[in-house]
């Protein structure tokens, strides 16, 4: 680097980057990156109970279709080849993150990478920094609570967007209810700041390393995390001048 260059100037590119060698070398691209290792797949997602009859579980079925039994399950992990750009992104990520445990779910044209929380930080950083992946934009983080998914009750879902390649990708990770910790991705995607605060607020997932993990939508002194499945609709009895209005679901039956 010559002396007359400004700081950061050597990074300037004026044409599309396609060369695999263009990926950042420090930190992410390692000498020991394996060309195509076999992934270790995390545990399969939980199933959905069998459904019988025409209508919802537990309702009186008078339609005459009560003997129909259907197995509806969550979309199963897909096997390669996935087609389109998915294979390239998948194998590229495998070569960048050492010992990556990943499940790929290709469903309804949307690609989901399920990764364990221990590897989330490295996966997100690789997805952002690598020239062939380049998901530079984190649109949203949302939590989902699956009380039946033993050992992985709380899920955190990241929706990434590559503006360079015009691709979308979903990264999903999970943590058990008993140990609700997931590393924060704010250092990689500052846009996730408020989203992680909302997910903490609503689901009680603790994002380790977040700069300021406080409630964002609920009052600061609120007890509980309202969007968990065990939190009732209406939640708290509302007290006003000595009269207590019960929670909504204690007044009317929705189930």
């Amino acid at each position: 680097m010559s002396q007359d260059k400004l700081p950061g100037e050597e990074k300037t590119v004026d044409k599309p980057v396609t060369d695999p060698e263009a990926s950042p070398k420090a930190g992410v691209e390692r000498e020991d990156a394996q060309p195509n290792p076999t992934p270790l797949v995390p545990a399969e997602p939980k199933g959905v109970p069998l459904r019988a009859g025409m209508w919802s579980q537990g309702t009186g079925d008078t339609s005459g279709y009560s003997r129909i039994v259907r197995t509806t399950g969550w979309p199963a992990p897909s096997e390669p080849p996935y087609g389109s750009w998915y294979d390239d992104a998948y194998s590229r990520l495998l070569s960048l993150v050492e010992g990556l445990r990943i499940a790929v779910i290709l469903d309804r044209g949307e690609l989901t990478f399920r990764v364990p929380r221990e590897q989330l930080t490295e996966v997100m950083r690789s997805l952002r920094d690598d020239a062939l992946l380049r998901f530079e934009f984190c649109a949203s983080v949302s939590g989902v609570h699956y009380p039946d998914d033993a050992g992985a009750e709380l899920h955190s879902v990241y929706h990434l967007q590559s503006m360079t390649h015009n691709r979308r990708l979903r990264v999903e990770t999970s943590c058990p209810d008993a140990d609700p910790h997931i590393p924060s991705v704010v250092a990689t995607y500052p846009a996730a700041d408020w989203h992680e605060r909302e997910t903490w607020d609503m689901f009680g997932i603790v994002f380790d390393g977040h700069p300021h993990l406080t409630r964002i939508l609920m009052p600061d002194d609120w007890a509980g995390h309202p969007q968990r499945k065990d939190y009732p609709l209406g939640g708290i009895p509302i007290e006003y001048k000595g009269t207590t209005v019960p929670p909504v679901d204690a007044r009317r039956s929705y189930r």
């Binding site: 959905v48 459904r51 025409m54 209508w55 919802s56 309702t59 008078t62 339609s63 509806t72 399950g73 969550w74 979309p75 469903d107 309804r108 044209g109 949307e110 934009f137 984190c138 649109a139 949203s140 949302s142 989902v144 609570h145 879902v157 929706h159 967007q161 503006m163 015009n166 979308r168 979903r170 995607y189 500052p190 846009a191 996730a192 700041d193 408020w194 989203h195 909302e198 609503m202 409630r215 964002i216 939508l217 609920m218 009052p219 600061d220 002194d221 609120w222 007890a223 309202p226 969007q227 939190y231 609709l233 708290i236 007290e239 006003y240 001048k241 000595g242 207590t244 679901d249 929705y254």
Partner: protein
């Protein structure tokens, strides 16, 4: 003083039972003011909002000033949190539209469209949506975009003293809302776009009213440019204010006119088309100043592009009169088979005659579809669309039941408010209002 002991709404001496949640005590605000009192320097700590005329609803800003220079600004949100996402988990998929439409109430049709497109992807019926339904969606969304931009420009102008821009902005918007009322029955909160299509076809006089509306807009939209574009006071307040470059937009998840004001032509209608946008002829507007004035110009020109799309959609709708506006699956389509009867009620006489007189099975199905709704296969979907503010998207998860297992709306304003500090710190206090106005947050969408 704890929250348990202190109830502002109780009479003196009246006992309080249970927990009292109130933001009036403002826990963190008391801390800030206390620290300030100990510090003893000249720094002003100002609490702006949540009730403030130029915070676009109930946005709270905690500002630290040195003289009139903002040294630190932190937005506080949540004052309009209504638990819409939680409520949706207790209602059927169709009823979800009546919830999402109330999120960003300035552009309700975009909320509905994002939600319905996500549900349609889960159902796997994206290809079966009738052409006319897509054309109506595009028409309504583009009119809604004009209405939303008029509010953004109008209220933004009002906050810097350009009152005329506000009054004429709301005049034009009211014409658009009149058309919405004729089509959907309501000025706002339409619940018009439904999974599978739209709730109702255009009324008989719809096309004629639309032509009048287009003429009105063509006549009056140039007024904004004449009032503002080269107005020295307007430019003096807007140029160079709220600067945010492309890298900051990427890092903070900022999209829409704010992103396009940095010169990057990112518009999901072009990049990832939906509802048939690829078949319309329009341009993506950009500006290169990355400031509040650039965003104003982007919004101004986008209204003209939207009007171009509206005209094309009008021609198509005129040609496709009478074609279906709902997917050909009666389970999903219900209750779109409505008609205004002689009693003014919405039930279709033919339908009632059929279920009450002809078929007991049809009655059972009607009853179950009304009370329970249809089922959606398990899985998750994330569908982003280009709202007037930026990328609005809906993440829906279904467990195979008749209600959303989880519905999350990614509102652009939620992300945009994160960039308030980067735009305002180091600037003048009076420019905070301009910067926030140029971000165009709607707290109903931000807090949901």
């Amino acid at each position: 003083m704890t929250a348990q002991e202190h109830d502002l709404y109780a009479n003196p001496g009246e006992e309080t039972e249970g927990t009292v949640y109130t933001a009036v005590g403002g826990g963190d605000w008391a801390d800030i003011a206390g620290e300030q009192a100990e510090r003893g320097d000249e720094v002003l700590v100002i609490n702006m909002g949540p009730q403030h005329p130029s915070t676009h609803g109930v946005l709270r800003l905690m500002v630290e000033c040195d003289g009139e220079t903002v040294t630190s600004i932190r937005p506080g949100i949540g004052f309009l949190h209504t638990g819409i996402e939680k409520n949706m988990e207790y209602r059927s998929w169709t009823q979800g539209t009546t919830f999402v439409t109330r999120m960003d109430y300035v552009s309700p049709l975009f909320n509905e469209a994002a939600y319905c497109l996500a549900v349609e992807r889960l159902l796997g019926i994206e290809d079966q949506i009738p052409q006319r339904a897509n054309d109506i969606r595009v028409l309504m969304m583009e009119l809604c975009r004009i209405a939303s931009h008029l509010v953004a420009i109008g209220t933004g102008g009002m906050e810097i003293g350009a009152l005329t821009v506000m009054t004429i902005g709301f005049r034009e918007r009211e014409m658009i809302l009149d058309f919405f009322e004729a089509v959907t029955g309501l000025r706002m909160n339409h619940a018009y776009i439904r999974p599978g299509g739209v709730a109702l076809d255009l009324p008989e006089t719809g096309i004629a009213q639309l032509r009048d509306l287009i003429n009105w807009l063509e006549k009056h939209l140039p007024e904004y440019a004449a009032f503002c574009n080269e107005n020295p006071i307007f430019k003096g307040r807007m140029v160079g204010i709220g600067y945010q470059d492309l890298a900051a937009c990427f890092a903070l998840g900022v999209t829409g006119p704010v992103l396009r004001s940095t010169g990057y032509a990112w518009d999901l209608r072009k990049q990832q088309p939906y509802c048939g946008y690829e078949t319309y002829d329009f341009d993506v507007i950009t500006w290169d100043t990355s400031d509040a004035y650039g965003r104003f110009r982007v919004r101004l020109d986008e209204m003209w592009e939207s009007l171009k799309i509206v005209k094309q959609a009008t021609d198509r709708l005129e040609a496709s009169t009478g074609q279906p506006v709902m997917v050909d699956d009666p389970k999903i389509a219900w209750p779109a088979t409505l008609a205004v009867g002689p009693d003014g009620q919405g039930n279709s006489h033919e339908h009632i005659k059929h279920i009450m007189g002809d078929s007991m099975e049809a009655l059972i199905h009607h009853f179950k579809l009304v009370t329970e709704g249809f089922r959606v296969p398990p899985g998750q979907a994330y569908v982003p669309i280009e709202s007037p503010k930026g990328e609005i998207a809906c993440h829906v998860v279904s467990d195979g039941g008749t209600r959303p297992y989880r519905a999350h709306m990614r509102d652009p304003g939620f992300n945009h408010l994160q960039s308030v500090p980067i735009q305002c710190e180091g600037g003048m206090l009076a420019d905070v209002v301009v910067a926030i106005g140029s971000l165009d947050p709607v707290m109903g969408g931000v807090d949901r």
